[in-house]
């Protein structure tokens, strides 16, 4: 059933951020809200009216819709172990990256539409960091394509399990890269701090200063969905082959929860970088994915 993973990701997105916040509160010695509190906040926002800026045009009104839709479509491309996603074709991860870029394009120009200088600043940073992170993802997928000999999400994740145990080592490295990419894409620590109180130090949060009500709810939930989506990709690296759903679903949920706890832990113990250090950090990810590429070359014996 190809829709299964879609439903699972949607379900995970409901409590993912809740777990992150809960982890952070435990580490900082607070009681903290329940894990469904972020969803309740979003539900409240969805019932509110929208406030639009005088400066903005129709771009500002349609941007959240397109952003949300792009994340939904990206999720439809994610497979579940050896089961294909709703859509699966050769090179679907290229489509995945580019459809997310469509959403980013609109969230950036939506921010520029308000004419607010701080939102322009956030837009500038978002565009800069996302182009820096792009090559890392493509090199990673290229290495996995090299390792398995396939060029679609489903085939790659299927093929990765038929290699030796070294492929799990690569899976671990790959999930490290994916966690970091997810942190950048979702504007979390150490690149951005969603809980900062100063607009000057924000990236994503400052872009949505003028969004309100239903639109803001869409944008916030899109972030949850994106987290769950990257969690699903990571889970795919470790889903055992075989069709047993009672085996793979717990692994999937487990990896997602682990991912959320890792994000919460990272955010509790790492301070946000200075803005000028972010590009260097993002370049590091590209070099790690190059490392994966060389590791794959070694495994395949292409190096003599």
């Amino acid at each position: 059933m190809p829709g299964l993973v879609f439903i699972l990701i949607i379900l995970t997105s409901f409590f993912f951020t809740g777990i992150v916040i809960r982890t952070k509160s435990i580490f900082s010695g607070r009681k903290g809200p329940g894990i469904f509190q972020p969803m309740k906040d979003i539900g409240r926002l969805l019932q509110k009216e929208n406030v639009y800026s005088q400066t903005s045009s129709f771009i500002f009104k349609i941007a959240p819709d397109i952003y949300f839709a792009s994340v939904l479509i990206a999720i439809m491309l994610i497979p579940f172990g050896n089961q294909k996603g709703i859509f699966s074709f050769d090179g679907d991860f290229v489509f995945f990256a580019y459809i997310l870029a469509v959403g980013k394009f609109f969230s950036i120009i939506g921010a520029l539409d308000t004419g607010n200088s701080l939102e322009g600043m956030g837009a500038s940073r978002e565009a800069l960091y996302s182009f820096l992170a792009e090559p890392a993802f493509f090199i990673l997928m290229g290495s996995l394509a090299l390792l398995t000999g396939y060029t679609s999400f489903a085939d790659i994740f299927n093929g990765i399990h038929f290699g030796s145990y070294i492929s799990y080592a690569i899976g671990t490295l790959a999930s490290f890269v994916l966690v970091l990419i997810a942190m950048i894409e979702n504007s979390r620590m150490p690149v951005d701090d969603p809980k900062t109180h100063l607009e000057l130090t924000m990236i994503h949060e400052v872009m949505v200063l003028d969004n309100s009500g239903f639109d803001l709810g869409l944008i916030l939930h899109a972030t949850n969905l994106k987290f769950a989506m990257y969690g699903a990709i990571i889970a795919n690296l470790f889903l055992t082959p075989g069709k047993e759903w009672y085996f793979s679903i717990p692994i999937f949920i487990g990896v997602q929860i682990l991912f959320a706890v890792v994000v919460g832990t990272l955010e509790s113990f790492i301070a946000r970088f200075r803005m000028s250090h972010n590009p260097q950090f993002i370049f590091t990810i590209t070099s790690i994915s190059l490392l994966i590429f060389f590791a794959v070359l070694l495994i395949l014996g292409k190096y003599f």
Partner: protein, 671 residues
């Protein structure tokens, strides 16, 4: 067919020169329509598999002139015809503003027709000498079109730059073509392949590189691109559109044609093209981002897109070299499709840039802003083209980049170590280009159309008239067709791309790609459906709520004004700092004096580092050396006559002496 087109062109050029200036645009439109009709008919037949052959007797000078239209020529002719057509549809409205002011309009449109005909000629004529003549006609007619506003000094300067560089291109082509014909005694293009098959591989590689550099100047590969940003930014908008859309593709066509004719080691050629293209792609977009002049920004994007096309050609050639049919097919199909795609969205962007220019009389992005409220249709056309050029689905740019990605990912796991490594780097490069293009076009669209106006304009800003918008909508129609139904376009591409892969495929790569593209088309539709349904749900959820319009949140500051917005320069500032070493930024800044300073100004002008190294520096040295012989040019008429006499004497003596030398040589031989 060809004689017919030439006669029609001459007829219409005469018609333009004898009719009123106001009519010349419509007459040119008529000429373009007729020529497009005739050549497209042949081209469509060629693309679906019926090549066209005609031999014209060119007399004793040219010999037989073969006219061959194969699928490759057909594809390029169709692409070119469409952009030339939208160009004249837009241009005849664009030129209305200059009527009765310059007196150049008739000449301009006459050149437009001649240029169209000469481009058709370049695609079909396969006789070296005739080819060079036609190329020269094309270069001169485009030069006249570029310097339309010749009264501005910077226009003339850029025009001369263009003229000189296009003649360096012709010089290289002449050397290459004459080299071959002096060895084979034939001007037919087929003699190139027989010649290169008969010489050693190293020589045919050098021959190919001659052609490659010649055509690369026309196409605008780095480091041969320096003429391009100047020429594109000063030409009238429709000419820029046609130049960027199709004229630089003549270079791509030449590279592809010579790839077929010159018999060489495809693998090495593939590597060379791939590396040059990667550099062009990344360098082009990296410089595009820091440009303040809208048309210059677009011109640098042409270099980037030429790079993407080149990456396709490079992996295609590597595919042939390694006998990998899928790689070859995906590479050539991707590059041919990107050639078409780029001609669509880039000409559209230039037309809209022209519309903006005629409305607010500036191309400086930093003084624009908020145009979407005054010119919503222009804004929509611009954003569609901007998304297409960034390679975002569901538009056409994505499809061609996707084909190239498919080829690259396939090559990664089927090639040798060196191919794998270079392909991984190409994938990263292509992803980087995509991300940088996103940065660039969010800047362009966001600063030009969104926010508040950044400066005050005296004239009223209005949406342009429908006849000026119409060519834009026509282009958008094709952008959407290719983006949403890529499988249809792919069917048309089977023959043109098959020209290269013939003998190694039995159609399976095409079928595999078509089934892939069908899925993409499906997902693209689902994406549009998802947007529509979210929008509907939002409308439904907000149906009983009032819509509140309030000032932009300005973080507690109450007097926010348009000057406080982010500008194009501030938007890319952190990027500029990041790539600083690759840039030259000329900065002019006033000093703050006293406690209450008078207004000070700060200006930044980006400059091309490649141009500084490869053009300006050698020119400086040349100037220095030439200064030593400047005494020859002293303005004294009697001296000039003396030079003439000396010259004639030397010529006479050389011919005499050569006769003597030949006689002596013969004498020695006989002894």
């Amino acid at each position: 067919m060809s004689i017919c087109i030439v006669l029609i062109t001459i007829l219409f050029v005469l018609l333009i020169s004898f009719s009123k200036e106001a009519w010349s645009g419509n007459i040119a439109l008529g000429a373009v329509l007729v020529n497009t009709g005739i050549s497209s008919w042949v081209a469509v037949n060629a693309v679906i598999g019926h090549s066209y052959l005609e031999i014209i007797n060119g007399g004793p000078v040219f010999g037989d002139i073969p006219i061959r239209v194969d699928a490759l020529s057909g594809w390029f002719i169709l692409m070119m015809n469409f952009t030339v057509l939208t160009g004249i549809l837009y241009g005849r409205r664009y030129m209305k503003l200059y009527e009765n002011k310059s007196g150049m309009i008739s000449l301009h449109f006459a050149c437009y027709i001649i240029n169209h005909t000469s481009m058709i000629g370049i695609f079909i004529v396969q006789n070296s000498l005739a080819f060079l003549y036609i190329w020269e006609i094309m270069a001169l007619s485009s030069f006249i079109m570029v310097i339309f506003e010749y009264k501005k000094p910077e226009t003339l300067k850029a025009g001369l730059n263009f003229l000189i560089q296009s003649h360096i291109c012709i010089l290289l082509l002449t050397i290459g073509l004459i080299w071959v014909s002096s060895h084979t005694d034939s001007y037919d293009f087929n003699s190139i392949s027989t010649y290169s098959a008969s010489v050693s591989p190293a020589i045919s590689l050098i021959l190919y590189l001659y052609f490659f550099i010649g055509f690369a100047i026309k196409a605008g590969f780095v480091p041969f691109h320096t003429w391009l940003p100047y020429a594109h930014s000063i030409a009238p908008a429709h000419v820029s559109g046609v130049m960027s859309g199709v004229m630089i593709k003549l270079g791509i066509f030449g590279i592809l044609r010579m790839l077929l004719l010159v018999n060489q080691n495809y693998l090495i050629i593939g590597y060379i093209i791939l590396i040059v293209s990667l550099i062009s792609g990344v360098y082009g977009v990296a410089l595009a981002i820091v440009q303040h002049n809208l048309k210059k920004l677009l011109a640098y994007h042409s270099i980037e897109n030429i790079g993407i096309i080149g990456i396709g050609i490079g992996i295609g050639a590597i595919g042939i070299g390694t006998k990998n049919p899928f790689l070859a097919f995906a590479g050539f199909a991707g590059s041919l499709l990107h050639t078409l795609n780029h001609s669509l969205f880039k000409s559209l962007l230039f037309y809209e840039a022209g519309t903006i220019y005629q409305t607010i009389h500036t191309l400086n992005i930093d003084s624009m802003g908020g145009l979407i409220k005054k010119m919503p249709q222009t804004a929509i056309l611009f954003i569609i083209a901007a998304m297409a050029i960034c390679g975002l689905p569901p538009f056409n740019g994505f499809i061609s980049e996707f084909l190239i990605y498919l080829g690259l990912f396939d090559g990664v796991h089927s090639g040798s170590l060196s191919i794998t490594t270079i392909f991984i780097l190409s994938i990263a490069g292509l992803a980087l280009i995509g991300g940088l293009a996103l940065l660039c076009f969010t800047k362009a669209f966001g600063i030009i159309f969104l926010g508040q106006a950044r400066s005050h304009f005296d004239n009223e800003i209005n949406e342009s008239e429908p006849s000026k918008l119409f060519p834009g909508y026509l282009i958008v129609f094709f952008i959407l067709i290719i983006g949403l139904f890529p499988q249809w376009t792919m069917r048309l591409l089977i023959n043109p791309a098959g020209v290269f892969t013939s003998g190694m495929t039995d159609g399976f790569p095409a079928l595999k790609i078509i089934s892939n593209l069908q899925s993409i088309s499906l997902v693209a539709w689902v994406f549009l459906l998802a947007i529509a349904s979210i929008w509907t749900i939002k409308r439904f959820a907000l149906r009983n709520k009032r819509m509140v319009i309030a000032p932009t949140w300005s973080c507690g500051y109450s007097e926010a004004n348009s000057k406080m917005q982010y500008t194009a320069s501030s938007y890319v500032r952190s990027y500029r700092k990041l790539i600083g070493p690759f840039l030259i930024m000329n900065k002019k800044e006033g000093e703050i004096k006293g406690v209450f300073s008078s207004p000070i100004h700060s200006q930044t002008h980006p400059y091309d580092k490649v141009e500084a190294i490869f053009i300006d520096f050698p020119l400086k040295i040349m100037n220095k050396m030439m200064a030593r012989v400047r005494f020859i040019q002293n303005g004294n008429m009697r001296h000039y006559i003396l030079y003439g006499v000396i010259f004639i004497t030397i010529i006479v003596f050389i011919s005499l002496l050569s006769g003597v030398a030949a006689y002596l040589f013969n004498l020695i031989k006989q002894m």
